[in-house]
């Protein structure tokens, strides 16, 4: 298998002024193949979101090699797009204008942008809400905008930083299923950070369990459930076994993490 995304020995220390330095990632390594759906779970503060920002190119690690399609990652690129945890929508832009942000920054002409955002509005189920401002949208709707915005520039990789954490349980279930649908249609490579074992098990090809801070890979668990997956699958004993397996790997780390004050 050819590595699509490769992280080798990534170490990152935050050095805030007048405060203790924090090692967010230590010798963290990860390989992702093209088209794969990989979730990262781990205790709070283990550096999983930080890792996404490193992959995005917003933060430079202190040491370690990061390559995307064989080229080192030196900064943000429209080949990799993030879906942000608290949506990260620009409040002064309508849903459509938010979706068009990346296209605009790329210098795509307005007519073409409108065309593209119309397609995306349909894809993520936002028809009728194009001219709404973010404060007029529900949490689920906001994240649909966030997802459409990330898909707009046709990136090869979607980085998703706890994208559904701010949503209520039902909206979350719906969004997970829709994400799976979109993923199956678009064949993006997805890196998905979450706190939810169930979410990770339901969506992923592989689940990476991280240790408590400083974060490193504790175990990589392949999820061998058939696709396409549906909600009923979550009620099967196989699914429960997988959840139990992830939980057993994770629980010691949660204890360590809570001893460290998280």
């Amino acid at each position: 298998m050819v590595s699509f995304i490769e992280a080798q020995g990534v170490t990152l220390v935050f050095k805030p002024k007048n405060r203790e330095h924090v090692t967010a990632l230590k010798e963290f390594s990860l390989n992702v193949t093209k088209g794969e759906f990989v979730s990262i779970v781990g205790p709070s503060g283990c550096g999983k979101s930080t890792f996404l920002n490193v992959l995005l190119g917003l933060i430079k690690p202190d040491t370690g090699d990061l390559t995307f399609k064989g080229h080192p990652i030196t900064g943000p690129s429209q080949e990799r797009a993030m879906v942000f945890q608290e949506f990260g929508l620009l409040p002064w832009r309508t849903a459509a204008a938010n979706i068009e942000l990346g296209l605009e920054l790329k210098g795509i002409p307005a007519a073409e942008r409108t065309e593209r955002s119309k397609e995306l509005v349909k894809l993520v189920g936002l028809v009728g809400f194009e001219s709404h401002y973010p404060h007029e949208l529900s949490g689920g709707m906001k994240q649909r905008v966030g997802l459409a915005r990330a898909l707009a520039t046709e990136p090869e990789v979607l980085l998703m930083d706890e994208p559904f954490a701010a949503l209520d349980a039902q909206t979350r279930d719906i969004m997970q299923s829709e994400l799976l649908g979109i993923w199956e249609r678009t064949h993006k490579t997805v890196l998905f950070v979450t706190h939810s074992i169930e979410e990770a098990a339901y969506l992923s090809d592989r689940v990476i369990v991280m240790t408590a801070r400083p974060g490193r890979t504790k175990e990589i668990l392949p999820i061998q459930l058939p696709r396409p997956r549906d909600y009923e699958m979550r009620l099967t004993p196989e699914f429960n076994d997988i959840k139990a397996q992830i939980w057993n790997t994770l629980k010691d780390e949660l204890k360590t993490s809570s001893r460290n004050g998280f």
Binding site: N53, L56, G57, L58, P76, S77, Q78, A81, M82, F84, E86, G88, L90, P91, W92, R93, L101, G102, L105, K106, Y133, P134, H135, R149, T153
Partner: protein, 261 residues
Amino acid sequence: MVFKNWLQEYQRPLIGFASVAAVILFWELTLTFLIPLNPFFFTKPSLIAVAFKEQVIDGALWGDLAVSSRAFLLGWSFAVILGIPIGALMGWRRRAEYTLDPFLTALYASPLVALAPLIIVVFGVGLFAKTVLVFVLSIFPFIFNTFAGVKSTDRILINVVRSFGGKEKDLYFKVIFPSTLPYIVAGARIAIGRGLVGIIVGEFYAASEGIGFAISRFGDTYRLPEMFAGIFVLMIAAVVLTEGMRKFEAVIAPWRKTGET
């Protein structure tokens, strides 16, 4: 039932109007029936209305109003032109903030009208001195609000734009400026009030024309109804300008929830 709904819907303007009407009526009636009016010390609404008609509707005050407006607009515009960039610089460059902050904090907190005599000595009597006074008073809300707006720009949104390939200029135009704009307009509203104080004080101290001069002259000559007519004109100007600014805010920042200030 329909009438009741109507009352409910327009409760706010109705009560507001009634309360103003009640105060005017009380003022008028007290000085007509209870206390004999000494026209040297006080006046009443009916006399003010007559004076208002003579001075404003028939036009005697318009010349003064034009003179004052010119100084106000000039001073206020310079405050916009200089205040916004200074505030933005302070918000964006920490060293600039540290350098300017002590002066600005002290000056914003002080009653700067105290500088009026000095400004008049330096710049003379007339348009220039008044413009300077308006400028000095109204620049601070622009500086501070722009500064606060830039500072409170959401870091996440900066990262969002950077992650989609935004350059430094995109950060300014697509995040920092739109997020600061409502702060600037709120500052403009405060600056209007302070600028009006500047104009009036300037004209009280030394001037031969202008609405402040007119008010002060009427006061000195015990023409109280005319004086109140002048004050009334000022009140109208202040309300129109600040409310206009509030409407403008709603137009340029439709994303802000209504009721937020």
